[in-house]
């Protein structure tokens, strides 16, 4: 029987560290934080351009320095930080199988917080046609090349996507000697907010909307790409392709266990406390929905950490949750389940977080037991955060659903 810890936090990015530190602040004795890399920070480690830490530490850190600050915080708070520890399996009973340089071991926690973050969708999962040469990457891979190894995988890449991360990718390319040939976006509108989307133009890089890749050519390395816009095909020469964004939760551990993930989001479902269907498990950060900023993930981790501390103290049995139902074009709702009872502890989530799969205009209504509890008309864009306050009546409702009436 493996040693029983109070809480094991899996994933040492902003949300995991925040959860672990909050747990210690609340007096939880034995808090173990596992991260499979050699340093904490998660995805922030290789984002050399992005500023982190403004809200939580009242100063700005760039890239790897933020991870180091997180590590300091965790150690100062008395968290048992174990890096190069890779969780291989999540057990129903709170037992984790872990691989580390010392070998394989089992760890058990009274509660487990999974804060494993998100990753970008690669070429293969996007089912893009063509050859499969070298030089096809995601932003995370590119940033690792540059931040950790001083290497560049291409000189003249095509950038696919126009999310915030796509602009970060553009900056990474340009500041390390690569000259992107163009940025393409399949939608009619850029995903990131203006005026950020002026960045390609400002840098003299063509930005093509309503344009998608239909073929990739290259024997060993990428040589060219065929794009289609309004039915017209065009060939663009390039030596690499950067598929940016379209983040998906890094929830493979959940998928491979009995914990499971929701079909629409690919994320584990959590209730208003951040607790999964299996009440031994909690989750916070970008594993819940891809993606929010580092600061958002940090605050969420702290709130879920607090909820875990409450849960440990009260030991109240977790009731059967009610599923939050929603219509297309909604893509996800977090929390995706709501549990009744227990007004004593504060919710980790005060709002429902929603995302749309596409741009849509219409009326969004939250129904509790068939009665409208919240309603708003408007226009929404994909990948933008939509916040709906969780009504006080929600935990007692038997049916919770979001309906969308689209304008015709």
């Amino acid at each position: 029987m493996s040693a029983l810890h109070d809480v094991i936090v899996v994933g040492g990015g902003p949300s995991g560290v925040a959860a672990a530190v909050e747990l210690r602040r609340r007096g939880v004795k034995d808090v173990v934080l596992l991260d499979r890399e050699s340093e904490l920070g998660g995805a922030t480690r290789h984002c050399s351009h992005s500023p982190f830490g403004m809200q939580e530490f009242h100063r700005v850190y760039l890239g790897a320095s933020y991870g180091r600050r997180l590590q300091q915080e965790a150690l100062a708070a008395g968290v048992d930080v174990r890096t190069s520890h890779s969780v291989v399996r999540l057990g129903d009973d709170g037992e984790l199988l872990v691989s580390s340089p010392q070998g394989v071991s089992s760890l058990r926690g009274r509660r487990i917080v999974t804060s494993t973050g998100a990753r970008e969708t690669p070429r293969s999962a996007r089912l893009v046609s063509g050859d499969r040469p070298l030089g096809i990457l995601t932003t995370g891979a590119l940033q690792s090349y540059v931040a950790f190894h001083g290497l560049m995988p291409f000189r003249r890449p095509l950038i696919v996507g126009s999310e915030l991360v796509s602009l970060s990718a553009l900056l990474t390319c340009v500041s390390h000697g690569a000259r992107p040939v163009a940025m393409v976006e399949a939608d009619a509108r850029a995903t990131a907010k203006a005026p950020l989307t002026w960045l390609p133009t400002v840098l003299g890089i063509p930005f093509h909307r309503s344009t998608e890749i239909v073929d990739i050519r290259g024997r060993q390395r990428v040589e060219s790409v065929t794009v289609r816009r309004a039915g017209v095909l065009r060939e663009i020469e390039c030596d690499g392709i950067l598929f940016t964004g379209r983040f998906t939760p890094e929830a493979s551990l959940h998928m491979l266990s009995d914990l499971g993930v929701a079909a629409g989001s690919g994320a584990p479902l959590v209730d208003q406390y951040g607790r999964l269907q299996n009440p031994l498990y909690f989750a916070a950060g970008n594993v819940l929905r891809a993606v929010e900023t580092g600061g958002w993930a940090f605050r969420e981790g702290r709130a879920v950490g607090s909820a875990v501390a409450d849960d440990l103290a009260r030991q109240a049995p977790a009731r059967q949750p009610v599923q939050v139902r929603f219509d297309a074009p909604l893509k996800l709702v977090v929390p995706g389940i709501i549990r009744s009872g227990d007004r004593m502890s504060a919710h980790a989530f005060r709002h429902f977080q929603l995302r749309m799969t596409r741009a849509a205009a219409g009326r969004l209504t939250l129904l509790l037991d068939g009665l409208p509890a919240w309603r708003q008309s408007g226009r929404w864009l994909p990948e933008r955060r939509i916040l709906v306050p969780i009504p006080t009546g929600a935990p007692e409702a038997r049916q919770i659903s979001f309906v969308f009436e689209e304008n015709t």
Partner: protein, 483 residues
């Protein structure tokens, strides 16, 4: 900073062919696909001095890098055909040697599934053919029995034929094991050595390759997709025509494996074995292949519409697969010819053997084809040397059914998290007797980079570990990129 310490020559492909290919070899094998590797091993075990000539950077650069990894029983091979005999011989030998080479053997069994009445009607004939082919453990199943064997099969199933002894194997470690054994016996592996021309002077062959001249007494053409062209370049004329047939595959996330414990085969048609849904030794589920004729012998592209079709098909067969994400997609080319049969030719006076048109069953038949080639060679000459002791070769295990390196202490660290590949494994592969010649070769020796993140987490690290090793590097120094 690279971690490849030894065998730099082979790593960089910067060979010294004159030195490497000095003297006269007994046998030159052309093509380092699964068949060529098996042939090299068989002749080396018989005492021959072997040179294996490969036009690419590594073994398995052509047809052999993409298949469904099934070790066939041969139940559905054309009866009394050479293919059938060689598949059975190949399978038997594999079963004998897998243990000592440390190669995995996963007995999944297979279900040939009929989804409508006309298909169900064909199952009896398939069973009869199987028994005639010497495959005894066959069992007809009604839908209830089939769902008991595989609970997640669609309830549209009409009937199924169980083939108990079908296995899945590691399709890359097996040929690598054959080649490693051959090399341990002194065989020479020449890369970047496309055959340009060959002349037979009455007693031996003079081969001009891209890596220099090679002399060998006999020649075995195992050049797969280029088999007909190689025969021509050897001055043997054209006895067959390669008509490449592309097969596209989708690899589903490991979360799919709990739904697919067995190989699911369709009722075959005239042209193709059909689209299969099967588990892999690495814990994934494969869907494919298609069968698409094309002219190009090099380029095997994936097409979005086809990949989407494969996903739909998978969900028709096992509905739970609809919710499983895609990990990888790939396409391979079969060296099909104008005839369904294997195109095996022997020209005794010219001491030349051609093993052409080996498609669909090459992985299963390779060891059988190798024995057959030695037998054909004996028809015109012996090897004339003593058979050496069999060298001990044990392959690192990549299969999920046995312990892997991440489970042992002191592995350094895990580099590829999605496939749980350790730094120690990667360094070992880079330093092995037959090291990878390109990134694909490293992936096939370790599984690194083949997982669901497709290099999001590990690609940069792998590039760093392999810098300066290969003619086509993954990356250049950032300062260089700026020039």
């Amino acid at each position: 900073m690279t971690e490849c310490v030894v065998n730099n020559e082979a790593c960089t492909g910067a060979q010294q062919p004159a030195r490497a290919a000095e003297g006269r070899f007994d046998v030159a094998v052309i093509g380092a696909g699964v068949v060529g590797c098996a042939v090299a091993r068989r002749f080396a075990l018989a005492g021959a001095r072997v040179v294996l000539i490969e036009k690419g950077a590594d073994l398995l650069s052509g047809a052999s890098k993409a298949n469904s990894a099934i070790l066939h029983t041969g139940f559905d091979a054309p009866p009394d055909s050479l293919e059938h005999a060689l598949v059975q011989a190949g399978r038997e030998e594999y079963l004998q040697i897998a243990g000592e080479l440390n190669l995995p053997l996963v007995q999944t069994g297979a279900l040939v599934c009929a989804w409508d009445a006309p298909q169900a009607d064909k199952l009896a004939a398939i069973e009869a053919q199987g028994r005639r082919n010497g495959v005894q453990r066959l069992r007809m199943l009604d839908p209830k029995e089939a769902r008991h064997a595989m609970p997640h099969l669609s309830d549209r199933l009409v009937q199924a034929l169980e083939v108990v002894d079908e296995h899945v194997i590691d399709p890359w470690s097996a040929p690598l094991a054959y080649l490693t054994q051959a090399v341990a016996l002194g065989a020479v592996f020449l890369r970047h050595a496309e055959l340009v021309r060959g002349e037979f002077d009455g007693t031996a062959w003079h081969l001009q390759t891209a890596a220099g001249r090679v002399e060998a007494r006999s020649v075995v053409n195992a050049a797969g997709l280029f088999g007909d062209l190689v025969d021509e370049r050897l001055g043997l004329g054209r006895s067959f025509q390669i008509r490449p047939r592309k097969g596209q595959f989708v690899v589903l996330d490991k979360a799919a494996s709990r739904y697919v414990p067995r190989i699911v085969l369709p009722v075959p048609t005239e042209i193709t074995k059909g689209i299969v849904v099967c588990p892999t030794a690495f814990g994934n589920v494969l869907v494919g292949p298609t069968a698409e004729e094309q002219e190009d012998r090099d380029r095997a592209t994936v097409e979005q519409a086809t990949l989407e079709m494969l996903l739909r098909k998978a969900a028709e067969i096992v509905p739970a697969l609809a919710a499983i994400p895609v990990t990888a997609v790939y396409a391979g080319l079969r060296p099909a010819t104008e005839d369904k049969a294997y195109r095996v030719f022997v020209r005794a006076e010219q001491r030349a053997i051609t093993l052409g048109g080996i498609r669909s069953t090459g992985l299963s038949a390779a060891l059988g084809l190798a024995r057959h080639a030695l037998h054909l060679h004996a028809g015109f000459d012996g090897i004339g040397r003593a058979a050496p002791a069999v060298p001990m070769v044990r392959m690192p295990n990549l299969a999920e059914c046995r312990p892997r390196d991440w489970q042992a202490p002191d592995h350094g660290e895990i580099v590829c998290h999605c496939e749980l590949v350790t730094r120690r494994e990667i360094v070992a592969a880079l330093n092995s007797p037959v090291p990878p010649g390109d990134f694909g070769g490293l992936r096939r020796r370790t599984r690194a980079g083949m997982g669901r993140c497709q290099g999001f987490y590990c690609n940069a690290r792998l590039a760093d570990m392999t810098q300066d090793l290969w003619p086509v590097p993954l990356a250049v120094k950032a300062a260089e990129a700026a020039r």
